[in-house]
């Protein structure tokens, strides 16, 4: 009994910590924001790189958030999340080929992604979930290869082109050219994030999902269908992944089966930077990774675009070694 009470208290404390990040983290974030603002006012190159970074960071955020949703619900990382996103982007491509307009295809794809994610969880993940982390991770790795093979099989490995959702025009803000595309990417991702947040915060379904993720046994006792909540969680993650894929495609100018492979690594780095448990952390982490990659590659001659992936690897490693709980995560306390 005492231990149950203790853990409930710890849970509340942890929630508090999540809402208000510790002092050092707040300083880091505010400092970073001021640095970017001053930089943008000083130099148009800096501003251009920052905007580019924010746009690609939005894509990382969306995929990172998908990873976080899955991790919170079942404490595994879905290695197939990126490939799943790539697959749904191909579905959108196909729908457009069949005559749908971009935005019709966009929303139809989100619905298909939801069904796909849910079905995959029920059919493939649920049977191995209780076994071990390694077993579940291996299944997602198998899924990674399977999806890649299926996409290559159906659509082939050559580049596909989709119409641009936001046109090719651009804004001019004080001499800095900002394509509509970048603004659109950030706006769409933020809108989706806000919707997911509202779902979790204001709906009964969201409450059930939070309960199932936080205290599965207790949630089951009060009548939450924990299994079903986990499946819905996978569905939502697949939707966020689809958004990431659809927004990544125009920025890379073409669609190919490798669309999401490096983005997945950046999303990993983003999710870990934010704390694997924290949705807000995933968004902040994604934007941070996006902007810092853009600035570092733009300004540090020693780090060319070939070293972007190793750079993300370094971020991942350093965060895990120095602060494994990330910027917003809570420290994991393990009982023997």
């Amino acid at each position: 009994m005492a231990s149950a009470q203790g853990s409930a208290v710890a849970g509340f404390r942890a929630r508090g910590a999540e809402l208000a990040p510790a002092g050092a983290v707040a300083v880091f974030l505010v400092g970073g924001a001021i640095f970017l603002l001053v930089g943008c006012l000083q130099s148009t190159t800096f501003a251009r790189l920052t905007v580019e970074g924010l746009a690609s960071g939005a894509v990382f955020s969306s995929l990172a958030l998908a990873l976080v949703l899955v991790y919170r619900a079942s404490h595994i990382v879905n290695f197939a999340q990126g490939e799943l996103a790539m697959l749904t982007t191909y579905v959108a491509y196909q729908l457009i080929q069949w005559g749908l307009s971009y935005w019709e295809a966009f929303f139809a794809t989100l619905a298909i992604a939801f069904v796909l994610g849910t079905v995959l969880q029920v059919a493939l993940i649920r049977p191995v979930l209780h076994r071990s982390v390694i077993a579940t991770v291996i299944v997602t790795v198998g899924l990674f290869i399977l999806i890649d093979g299926v996409v290559n099989w159906i659509w082939g490995g050559d580049f596909k082109f989709m119409p641009s959702p936001f046109g090719t025009a651009s804004f001019d803000v004080g001499g800095v050219v900002i394509p509509h595309l970048y603004v659109g990417m950030v706006a769409v991702v933020l809108a989706c994030v806000a919707l997911v947040w509202a779902l979790f915060r204001f709906t009964k379904l969201g409450l059930g999902m939070r309960a199932a993720a936080l205290r599965p046994a207790a949630a089951a006792l009060v009548g939450v269908r924990v299994d079903r909540m986990l499946a819905v969680g996978w569905g939502l993650a697949a939707v966020l992944g689809a958004v990431a894929g659809l927004m990544a495609e125009p920025s890379q100018l073409f669609l190919s089966p490798t669309l999401m492979q490096s983005i997945l690594v950046y999303a990993f780095a983003a999710a870990v930077l934010g704390g694997l448990e924290s949705p807000a952390g995933a968004v902040v982490g994604g934007l941070t990774i996006g902007v810092s990659l853009s600035l570092v590659v733009g300004y540090v001659p020693a780090i060319s675009s070939e070293l972007q992936l190793p750079f993300a690897f370094a971020v991942l490693l350093i965060v895990l070694l120095i602060k494994p709980s990330g910027l917003f995560g809570r420290r994991e306390v393990r009982r023997v």
């Binding site: 077993a135 198998g142 290559n152 870990v272 992936l309 490693l317």
Partner: protein
């Protein structure tokens, strides 16, 4: 007497492997050599994942390091190829220890993330330092070897490394590895030094992957290229280890054969076609194996044996 069945199966495998080159065509010898190469890598990964319980999705990275070691040494110094394999073993052992250091603080999914990122990052390094490591064109060894040479080298190395693994795993070290896998806390409480054994397991298994990488490069006409060591190689190794299951020679042989032969076999699968059949079959197979055979092929064998004895 206890070891008699194991010894017998070992002798059967060895006998068949010695006889095969006299029976098979040159092309088929190269296929079986490929199995030998993956046997080494899967064996190494089995020590880490199966025995010590540390997942790695990045063993293709160690194969890349081993492969480039061989290619660069041979190109620049005309080093004897067998010597380059030993150097690859040593270098990968050290790199494995270094990668194992963060593993001390990480476990489960975090380790999977780091090793995955390693697997994705390593192929970028030759692109960046292209004067030394040849860029996307790669590095070629100064001399190429016949398929029979690779066959002999791969299976001799397999035999040596198999015995080495057996020696490591049967004694104190192996017991410590298994204790770490089953419960880190219990292992520490029983006096197992966690840092030592976790990094050691990483080092050993990386060294095995390094030797496999050397042979892998020699088997592709001595070319070490970034594209050979993409993330799929790492995933395939993990899949091989999952199919192999734990602690069975036959399991590892089956896992290695699966990974080594599938690319060739699946290209003749009718419906799925030449190019992408491999990935579809790979992915479907691993998912099915995980769902139906939780302990891989070794677990299946154990179950069959239990049935027979019952």
């Amino acid at each position: 007497m206890r070891h008699l069945p194991a010894l017998a199966s070992l002798l059967v495998v060895a006998g068949v492997l010695v006889a095969l080159p006299f029976i098979l065509s040159d092309y088929h010898v190269s296929l079986v050599a490929q199995v030998g190469i993956f046997f080494i890598a899967v064996l190494g990964l089995n020590i880490l994942t199966g025995y010590t319980g540390q997942i790695s999705i990045g063993h293709g990275a160690f194969m890349a390091i081993g492969g480039y070691t061989t290619a660069v040494l041979s190109r620049d110094h005309h080093t004897n190829l067998v010597v380059t394999m030993l150097v690859a073993f040593a270098i990968c052992f050290v790199v494995g220890l270094i990668v194992g250091l963060p593993a001390l603080r990480l476990s489960g999914v975090y380790l999977a993330l780091v090793t995955f990122a390693l697997a994705v990052s390593i192929p970028q390094i030759p692109l960046q330092y292209s004067t030394f490591l040849g860029g996307s064109g790669g590095v070629q060894t100064s001399k190429t070897v016949s398929n029979l040479w690779i066959y002999a080298a791969a299976w001799t190395a397999s035999a040596i490394l198999f015995v080495l693994a057996w020696l490591i795993l049967r004694g104190r070290t192996g017991r410590a590895f298994r204790a770490v896998r089953d419960s880190e806390i219990a292992a520490v409480a029983s006096g197992v030094e966690l840092p030592v054994y976790k990094t050691l397991a990483f080092g050993i298994s990386a060294a095995y992957a390094g030797v496999a990488g050397s042979l892998f490069v020699l088997a592709t006409n001595g070319f070490a290229q970034p594209s050979e060591f993409d993330v799929f190689l790492s995933l395939e190794l993990l899949i091989g280890a999952a199919i192999a299951g734990l602690g069975s020679l036959w399991g590892i042989l089956v896992g290695a054969a699966f990974v080594g032969l599938l690319p060739q076999v699946s290209s003749s699968v009718p419906v799925i076609g030449v190019e992408h059949g491999r990935d579809v079959v790979f992915g479907a197979a691993v998912v099915l194996v995980m769902l139906l055979l939780p302990d891989g092929f070794a677990g299946l064998l154990a179950r069959l044996r239990a049935l027979r004895n019952a």
